[in-house]
């Protein structure tokens, strides 16, 4: 019996090997593959993937990368590290990609980085992972310069949130934060920023995903009778928590992280309760290319980009493909990663984030020049750890979307953060 099984297994393995060989030999004329590992089975993950594909379509429309058509192979992470790492490994080993876009959750991006990207020398660009653990890993030299993310470190968001509280004269603030790496980081940073501005944090309460009710958490946040509420939450839990907060008589003075910049949140909570709710974000609407992104997005998807990480996903994919163009054909992951500074060079020629921008970047890069990418989140600039700092905005909800309340340039943000420390 066991011998039969052995034969069967052998046959199975041989059959599978043949299938794989067949795929490997059937290569297209000129097709550059890139990999994307994103949580497409999660409601807010799908638009992030759509946005990345949108960028790839535009780049192909402008003539592709190094004359080749770009094919983005999209794999779902299911927000499960095992599945995400396996998908990334398959993309690198079976499809030979030199560039990975993703993942979203830091808990998935981190094992992909340490057990796939770095060992295989593949560049990894994340739109949305925010954990400070990446900065630490980069400081220790663990990323080999292969890691970039377009999500500004949580520090900017926290500092601007604290500034909103100061400007509005709130003396006491309660915090509700998502109980994950991002939320815990945000809570730690903004609590520190609040206290250095002399604002008292009455209570900081963690919100776990998917609870039927947040009454206990909200009651405990209410107990200090704060002037304002800080929300470091995602739309689903945010809606549930804010509804309970308001129904229990909590204040309408709210400060929101960019994750709540969502139509769903506005509609489900109700505009009449959000007149005194201020949001923070790291986008830069003063740059024409950011408006251009909004218009392009509307044109393509028929609605304004709302939902976390869309502008970041757009920039992540565009910058990665620009770097790929700059590195030339058949570049390895580290060669592509090395070109990122050349396409986000503050002294370079400004280019827009669209079909024409990519085409003009191609000419400049081919003649040895450098370009300054002006994208959906402003003039993206990475530091040596692969982190971005960014200009910031304060925004409010309106009947039709959001409007800007205040704009802080990169220098203003940096100065303000320096004044806190």
């Amino acid at each position: 019996m066991s011998q039969n099984q052995g034969y069967f297994t052998l046959k199975l393995i041989t059959a599978i090997s043949f299938i794989f060989c067949a795929f490997n030999s059937a290569s297209h004329a000129c097709n550059t593959k890139i990999g994307a590992v994103l949580p497409t089975s999660v409601d807010w993950g799908r638009p992030i993937a759509e946005t990345a594909q949108f960028v790839v379509d535009q780049v192909n429309e402008s003539g592709g990368v190094s004359g080749c058509n770009v094919e983005m192979i999209l794999r779902d992470t299911q927000v499960d590290p095992k599945v995400g790492v396996d998908a990334a490994k398959a993309l690198v080993d079976l499809d030979g990609v030199q560039l990975l876009i993703g993942a979203v959750s830091s808990g998935v991006s981190m094992p992909i980085l340490t057990s796939v990207s770095v060992p295989s020398n593949v560049m990894q660009m994340s739109c949305c992972s925010s954990s400070t653990a990446f900065s630490k890993l980069a400081e220790e030299g663990g990323t080999n310069g292969l890691w970039y993310r377009t999500f500004a470190t949580t520090g900017v968001q926290a500092a601007v949130g604290a500034k909103v509280a100061m400007d509005n004269g709130f003396k006491t603030v309660a915090i509700l934060y998502k109980n994950d790496d991002w939320g815990q980081d945000l809570n730690r940073l903004i609590s520190r920023d609040f206290s250095s501005l002399g604002i008292k944090v009455t209570n900081a309460v963690a919100i776990n995903d998917g609870q039927p009710s947040y009454k206990a958490e909200v009651t405990s946040a209410l107990s200090g009778n704060p002037d304002a509420l800080y929300l470091g939450l995602y739309p689903d839990e945010g809606t549930a928590a804010v509804r309970e907060w308001l129904s229990l008589g909590g204040t309408k003075n709210m400060i929101m992280a960019n994750s709540l910049k969502s139509d769903d949140f506005r509609e489900n909570v109700g505009m009449q309760y959000l007149n005194n709710a201020f949001g923070t974000d790291t986008a830069s609407p003063r740059v024409a290319s950011a408006d251009a992104f909004v218009n392009l997005y509307k044109e393509r998807f028929g609605k304004a980009p709302s939902g976390p990480g869309l502008a970041n996903s757009y920039d992540a994919t565009m910058i990665a493909l620009l770097a790929m163009e700059a590195a030339g054909s058949n570049a390895t992951g580290s060669e592509i990663a090395a070109q990122v500074s050349r396409v986000t060079d503050p002294a370079g020629t400004p280019i827009t984030a669209d079909v024409n921008g990519f085409a003009s970047a191609r000419n400049i890069l081919a003649s040895g020049g450098s370009v300054m990418y002006q994208g959906a989140t402003g003039n993206v600039r990475f530091d040596e750890k692969g982190d971005v700092s960014a200009p910031a905005v304060v925004w409010k909800f309106t009947d039709g979307g959001t409007e800007e309340v205040e704009y802080m340039s990169l220098t203003q943000v940096d100065d303000f953060i320096a004044s806190l420390n």
Binding site: D86, K89, S115
Partner: protein, 315 residues
């Protein structure tokens, strides 16, 4: 071809680690009839225990004792065993669905503890700073993964033979007696309570071993690694493979993990471009269909339990 081989090595490593966990569950459910709904807690205890003991010191939480990897792995198994012993003592009177629910609760509590106790293991951002064993000599590439796979396969086989020996011994007969009729076993002067506890702890130590290998392979563990989904995956492996049969547990682990990963790969490759974004959801449906079909068509699993003669000498 080297790419395919490299991926195959990677895949086999993870599948073998999951197979070890499935073997642990098979001892508990397949042989003793203990419904452990919190596999992930013991798996996680092993992973966290190993990385805390074997990792480099970190400023923001305890741990990082830089112990030699085999010692750290042993420590991880002890942590998992201790947790199982405590849970076992507390729930020893519970049977079937009650045990399932309370162990499930333990797993959720364990995940929440790891998510919130930043002083213990870094909280939600996970446990980092573990140096993979022998990395200086083997580098980071293919050679390392092959060596790691060989070690994992060796451990998988050792666990398999150990459990085969255990279930074909008089002790194994006792486990099945308790599974089938606890009162009958008691009437023969056996102490089912102690035996159940022993089987529960041993099975959990095996799960902890799997966790310790898993953590070392990724050199990272975070609360996202220990969500209830993993418990579900390991149960699916055992049910499809065949509860009560160690070969079945291993085969089921490879089969389910292959289905899990290859469905994503195939969909990303062959699904029409407009459905690409929905492949994640389609994948969930496909996996669910496979498990339900299996339960309807062959509830005893691909490798049903064989009746074992406990004393080979009398064959």
């Amino acid at each position: 071809m080297i790419g395919f081989l490299s991926y195959l090595v990677f895949f086999t490593t993870i599948a073998s680690i999951l197979a070890i966990a499935a073997l642990g569950l098979n001892l508990q459910w397949g042989n003793t009839g203990l419904f452990n709904g919190g596999v992930v807690a013991f798996f996680g205890a092993g992973a966290y225990g190993t990385l805390l003991l074997g990792g480099a010191p970190q400023s923001d939480h305890i741990g990082g004792f830089d112990l030699l990897y085999p010692i750290a792995l042993l420590g991880g198994m002890i942590v998992a065993g201790l947790l199982a012993w405590i849970v076992g003592i507390l729930t020893i009177r519970l049977r079937h669905d009650y045990l399932a629910i309370s162990t499930f609760g333990v797993a959720v509590a364990f995940e929440n503890l790891m998510r919130n106790a930043q002083w213990l293991a870094g909280g939600a951002k996970g446990l980092r700073g573990f140096e993979r064993p022998l990395r200086e000599f083997l580098g980071d590439g293919f050679l390392y993964n092959v060596s790691f796979l060989i070690i994992v396969l060796f451990i998988l086989l050792s666990v398999y033979f150990f459990l085969e020996l255990l279930v074909s011994s008089p002790f194994g007969r006792l486990l099945r007696a308790i599974r089938e009729d606890e009162y009958a076993a008691r009437s023969l002067g056996k102490n089912p309570t102690n035996i159940r506890l022993t089987a529960f702890v041993v099975g959990s130590i095996v799960m902890g071993l799997a966790g310790g290998l898993y953590g070392a392979f990724y050199a990272f563990v975070s609360p996202q690694d220990i969500l209830p989904m993993l418990t579900f995956q390991i149960w699916a492996m055992l049910i499809v493979g065949g509860a009560g049969n160690n070969k079945g547990a291993i085969f089921g682990a490879f089969l389910i993990w292959a289905a899990w990963t290859s469905s994503g790969w195939l969909l990303s490759r062959f699904a029409p471009i407009e459905t690409q974004l929905y492949t994640g959801s389609i994948q969930y449906v496909l996996i669910g269909v496979v498990i339900v079909t299996m339960l309807l068509w062959r509830p005893q699993g691909l490798f049903p339990e064989r009746l074992v003669i406990s004393q080979p000498g009398e064959r």
